[in-house]
């Protein structure tokens, strides 16, 4: 609102908002702080806040013990790979739905969304079985495939809502200018939709990175991403808060940073364009 507000009121709201914001953020802050403590300080009673001997030894230990970088690498491959494959399949589909809508377009979009709602447990066993038959259990291909499929409806939907905002005139102009369908998509649509495609990519990397049902159940070692890496810390073993914190920080840091960049698109993507 363009209205002037008294500084007192503004100060009051500011203090209140910051307190609430910090409370919500606190667990993450605490993880990060604890990751720099020794195990002994990590469970000190009363807790120590900022004034302790900062150490990075936990990061080294976690890397040595659980080979963080291998899981990180797997997370990157799975999230980026599944997003890339998803985009390749979704761009042509979204083009069709946005620019050549037919009588059934709406139904197809709805149906795609409905596949997202199938409870995964209902089909877990068949998928495991198929994966083992094909000898693909715990492989990149399987995981990239599954992650692509579970996020494909969201990718199609997001691209569809972005494409709809591009005036069809411009694509028709390209057609009149002699562009083939391929040139039309490659030289006109894609460059114009870059911001939308970028947000779609970003959001889907986040979703794939944090996906914890399929990645936990379909991997053991070789394709296991960070979700699995963290799950290996679930059984307590003596003093382990600092190490757990270091591992957690490393698991969430990349995506937290990426997520902050994409918070605006998140609204649109996760509500399938219903809230912009």
């Amino acid at each position: 609102m363009a209205r002037a507000v008294t500084p007192q009121k503004k100060a009051l709201w500011t203090v209140l908002a910051w307190i609430v914001g910090l409370i919500i953020f606190f667990p993450i802050l605490w993880i990060i702080l604890t990751s720099f403590k020794t195990e002994a300080t990590a469970i000190a009673d009363p807790p120590v806040w900022f004034f302790f001997d900062w150490t990075t030894e936990n990061y080294g230990i976690v890397q040595d013990r659980s080979d963080y970088f291998r899981f990180l690498w797997n997370s990157v491959i799975l999230s980026v790979g599944s997003t890339a494959v998803g985009i390749l399949i979704a761009v042509p589909a979204a083009w069709s739905m946005a620019f050549v809508p037919g009588r059934r377009t709406k139904d197809i979009l709805m149906w795609m969304l409905s596949t997202k709602m199938l409870p995964a447990v209902g089909v877990l066993f068949p998928i495991v079985l198929i994966a083992k038959w094909l000898n693909m259990y715990d492989s990149y291909i399987l995981l990239i495939g599954v992650l692509t499929l579970i996020n494909l409806p969201i990718i199609v939907w997001m691209l569809y809502t972005y494409f709809k905002e591009i005036p069809v005139d411009i694509l028709e102009a390209a057609r009149m200018d002699g562009a083939t369908l391929r040139s039309e998509i490659l030289y006109i649509l894609t460059p114009m939709a870059i911001p939308g495609i970028a947000s779609t990519v970003l959001l889907n990397i986040i979703l794939a990175w944090n996906e914890a049902f399929w990645t936990l159940n379909l991997t053991t070692v070789s394709a296991a991403p960070l979700t699995k890496f963290i799950a290996s810390y679930s059984s307590p073993e003596g003093l382990f808060f600092a190490k757990l914190s270091a591992a957690s920080t490393m698991a969430i840091a990349p995506i937290l940073i990426l997520g902050w960049f994409s918070q605006k698109q998140l609204v649109r993507g996760l509500t399938f364009g219903a809230v912009k």
Binding site: P167, D169, I170, E172, A173, A174, R175, M176, D177, G178, A179, T180, S183, Y187, I188, P191, M192, I194
Partner: protein
């Protein structure tokens, strides 16, 4: 070359027939304007010629070749859109180059043609800018530039001036007319504005509900409108249409007389009436005169400085040779 023939072309959207069977020939080098009220099917007709829509039946021939099934890219036509449809992510140069790039024309020839078009359209200084940095008139020129570099068989214009302000519109109208004089290429121009149609066209096609009401030169349409619709649509201000006893005197159901073909006199004349609203344009004045026994006021054009006022008594005399007569079906009586 650019001779376009439509042979019994129809278009249906589902059950709705937007264009009933329609025949039309556009000769090479002609400037043809499709004009009609909104929803008359003029844009659809243009899109059918462009290949952006399929015809439901009939045939479209371009230079004698059947182009009915050809995709837009293969029809050798260029189009200027109402929204200009410039590629926002490309510079003006790249916009103009795009059709050449698609046609696989070599770089040197591309540059030559772009420089040429830019010179003709006064765009030389703007070639490196993005469309977003240009004014409405400049964008319009880029759209035209993109069309002319291809040296198409014909240009299609879809209401190209409707997004410009009034002053710019008059200027662009002249530029497009000059362009036609220079290029001598067939142009098909769609508009709802009969002034644009009258001022630019070699041939006007008046459309209503997908039907061609009349085809002819601007002056033919002005002098001999084939029916009531054309009579009312062409000319500004509109022709006065009078029913009833006055029409019966001339042996017609309806008679029409244009405002500029009525003489005004304070003393004597055929019809007696009272001056209502008057519109002073400086060069001309339009009076709306309430004539006794007529439902609608009669619009009359008079000189710029005729001293008549609201409520004055006047006498109107239609020029007898300029009276248009229409029969029961609204058709012209020769």
């Amino acid at each position: 070359m650019g001779r376009i023939t439509l042979d019994k072309v129809t278009k249906r959207f589902g059950e709705v027939e937007v264009i009933p069977p329609l025949d039309l020939t556009i000769d090479d080098g002609e400037f043809v304007v499709f004009v009609g009220p909104s929803g008359c099917g003029k844009s659809t007709l243009l899109r059918l010629i462009a290949g952006l829509e399929d015809v439901s039946s009939g045939q479209i021939r371009i230079d004698g070749e059947d182009a009915t099934q050809a995709p837009p890219a293969k029809r050798k036509l260029a189009m200027v859109f109402q929204s200009y449809a410039l590629y926002p992510h490309m510079s003006v140069r790249k916009n103009i180059a795009f059709p050449l790039r698609m046609a696989g024309i070599d770089k040197a020839e591309q540059d030559r043609r772009i420089e040429n078009a830019a010179k003709v359209l006064n765009l030389t200084d703007y070639l490196e800018r993005r469309p977003g940095q240009l004014s409405g008139g400049q964008r319009q020129r880029v759209a035209i530039g993109r069309a002319i570099v291809r040296e198409p068989a014909a240009f299609l214009f879809d209401e190209p001036l409707s997004n410009l302000d009034a002053a710019l519109r008059v200027g662009m109208r002249l530029e497009i007319s000059e362009l036609h004089e220079r290029l001598k290429t067939t142009m098909i121009y769609v508009t709802h504005d009969q002034v644009e149609a009258m001022t630019m066209a070699d041939k006007i096609v008046v459309l209503r509900a997908g039907n061609i009401e009349q085809v002819g030169s601007p002056l033919t349409l002005y002098r001999e409108p084939r029916n009531l619709f054309v009579a009312g649509f062409i000319g500004s201000p509109k022709m006065n249409l009078i029913d009833g006893a006055e029409a019966a005197k001339h042996g017609a159901r309806t008679i029409g007389i244009r405002p500029e073909h009525i003489d005004v006199s304070p003393q004597a004349g055929t019809w007696e009436g009272t001056v209502g609203v008057s519109e002073h344009l400086g060069s001309d004045t339009f009076f709306h005169v309430h004539v006794d026994g007529m439902k609608e006021p009669i619009t009359v054009r008079a000189g710029g400085e005729v001293g008549l006022h609201h409520g004055d008594k006047v006498y109107l005399t239609p020029q007898p040779e300029r009276i248009h007569r229409f029969d029961d079906k609204g058709l012209r009586i020769a």
